[in-house]
Amino acid sequence: MALLEIRNLSKNFGGLAAVSEFDLDVEEGEIRGIIGPNGAGKTTLFNVISGTYRPSGGTIIFEGRSIAGKRPSAIAARGAVRTFQRTALFEEFDTLGNVSIARHLHAKETIFGAIIGTARKMERANEKRAEEIIEFIGLGEVKHELAINLSHGHQRALNVAMALAAEPRLLMLDEPVAGMNPSETATMTDIIRSLRKDWGITVILVEHDMRTVMDVCEKITVINFGQKLAEGTPDEIVSNNDVIEAYLGSDDILGEDF
């Protein structure tokens, strides 16, 4: 059974169907790419899976249990964590602070524990884990910098670090390399690969940058007008006529980044 099973998923806004009758299976240990022209429904799909939006219909099964319509925090607690397309950070905290907050799910603290101060030991273990994650993502040098002062590349990396801090089994990355320069992009690509290799995390990647998707994903799903257009290996996708047509029909040109 697949780690994530989506059947007949749809999401309507008023009369507009942003996602309709969508099926998706993501196996454990996969790095799945989801691509599509602008406004095709990629981010809506993410929002529905992660619980930001309530689905209008259909089922979402994660590890054998339904997560459709649950709160994002409940879904994150099950182990499916997302990042945002925008740079989303707790700006007034430093890098370590951001990652620490993101460890919320694994740092149970009661209100009385907080007052009496019994959480100290747990918090120390937490901090150690947070530092491990920061080192892994390569933010060790800016550990104590305020998030708002980080470079764009570092901020995007911090987003991934925060998602990792929630100890996900499924990580949903929404355009992780948007706005990055080539060397930052290369670093991020390496990180995504080792997420699976070293941490055993399944990854779904929504990305605009074709090169990255083709590079790291072994299976790609193409979405257009909220529906699945094609699915297959990168080679199959590049040679798929429907896909080429969809991209030529919109303002996006498939070959832009090739």
């Binding site: 994150a76 007034e92 905290f93 907050i101 959480a119």
Partner: protein
């Protein structure tokens, strides 16, 4: 008031997330213990001064202690980004609970004060449940609506709330046979509650729970996706704030001996907002600074009674326009890296989005 900021960076706040200054291990003992020494010194002074103060000033200090509890608990709610306009009403709930239960059931002072807090917390939880659907300015207006509704219930319902006349003859407080009607005795009772309340809220502010609240303020969607149950934590903040507002209400009811709906009017709420805004809501100590300075200013302005709303109104306008971070933002200006100012400024600017 400067030194407690030092205390904030000592390892004593064990569950606190490390700040840059704390993580870079600082052997300087003044930095480490200076805050605690200052706090102990202030407490010692507070213990001594009532014996040298005039009756009137002791009474004033009692009101000041209640104001501190109110301001700090109000600020605690605002850390999630929920600016409420019903905090004085919550105080009123504590006061009414005290008046009714102490009078008709005969519950003793030491039990009644925390009980008033619990009753208010319960009402806070009930009121917060529908208000969770709103945020930002809509939350503010909704809290205003709910609060006014509760106040009108007090005005309208004669049994048990006594209508516009309120409740009179609240039994005078007693603690293990010790009469608290004497000003000095009540001073110490209030001080004890104030110190306990401030300490608890300080610990919460620096804890993981406090950080979750601040995270919700910055970006509730991100916090939710990182596993913070935003609804639960917003409710928690509101309930904790309500609890302490209720305690302040109980202390008020016992002191006044009678209460009526006019004690909890919008004007009072506006003064509470003035304390918090002028002190600065972004750190724990801001409201304390604000309430301290404004209590003094309020006393000085006594000869100009009729001009008071104009003076404090103008002051609030000036602060909102020229110093939105409050007085607190002036204090540690030299100690903080400049980027943090920018971060605070940004946060203030983007705090209140339409709902």
């Amino acid at each position: 008031m400067k030194n407690p900021n030092g205390a904030a960076s000592t390892p004593a706040g064990g569950s606190a997330l490390p700040t840059p200054s704390a993580a870079a291990s600082n052997p300087d003992w003044r930095r480490k213990y200076g805050g605690w020494i200052a706090v102990i010194a202030i407490l010692a002074a507070l213990c001594v001064i009532p014996f040298y103060m005039k009756f009137y000033h002791i009474e004033l200090s009692i009101i000041y202690f209640m104001s501190v509890i109110l301001a700090v608990s109000y600020r605690l709610i605002t850390t999630t980004g929920d600016w409420s306009f019903a905090h004085i009403i919550l105080q009123g709930i504590g006061a009414y609970a005290t008046a009714l239960l102490a009078k008709h059931v005969g519950i003793p002072f030491i039990v009644m004060v925390p009980l008033a807090g619990l009753v208010t917390a319960a009402v806070g939880a009930i009121v917060m449940f529908p208000m969770l659907r709103t945020k930002g300015f809509a939350f503010f207006i909704a809290s205003f609506a709910f609060g006014e509704f509760i106040r009108m219930v007090w005005m309208k319902v004669n049994n048990p709330f006594g209508g516009t006349g309120g409740i009179v003859n609240i039994p005078s407080p007693e603690l293990f046979g010790l009469k608290l009607t004497s000003s000095v005795n009540y001073y110490f009772a209030c001080m004890a509650f104030m110190v306990a309340a401030v300490f608890i809220m300080w610990r919460l502010d620096r804890s993981r729970i406090g950080n979750a609240w601040k995270a919700i303020h910055t970006d509730d969607m991100l916090a939710e996706c990182m596993g913070v149950n935003v609804a639960r934590y917003r409710t928690l903040a509101f309930v904790v704030g309500s609890f302490f507002a209720g305690i302040a209400g109980a202390l008020l009811a016992y002191r006044m001996g009678s209460i009526d709906p006019h004690n909890f009017e919008i004007t009072q709420m506006v003064y509470l907002v003035i304390w918090v805004v002028i002190g600065g809501a972004s750190t724990f100590w801001g409201p304390l600074i604000g309430v301290t300075i404004l209590t003094v200013a309020f006393e000085w302005s006594r000869p100009l009674l009729e001009w008071r709303p104009l003076m404090f109104g103008s002051l609030l306008i000036m602060f909102l326009i020229f110093l939105p971070g409050g007085l607190e933002s002036l204090l540690p200006a030299l100690r903080r890296p400049p980027g943090e100012h920018y971060a605070r400024f940004r946060r203030w600017l983007t705090t209140f989005r339409p709902g």
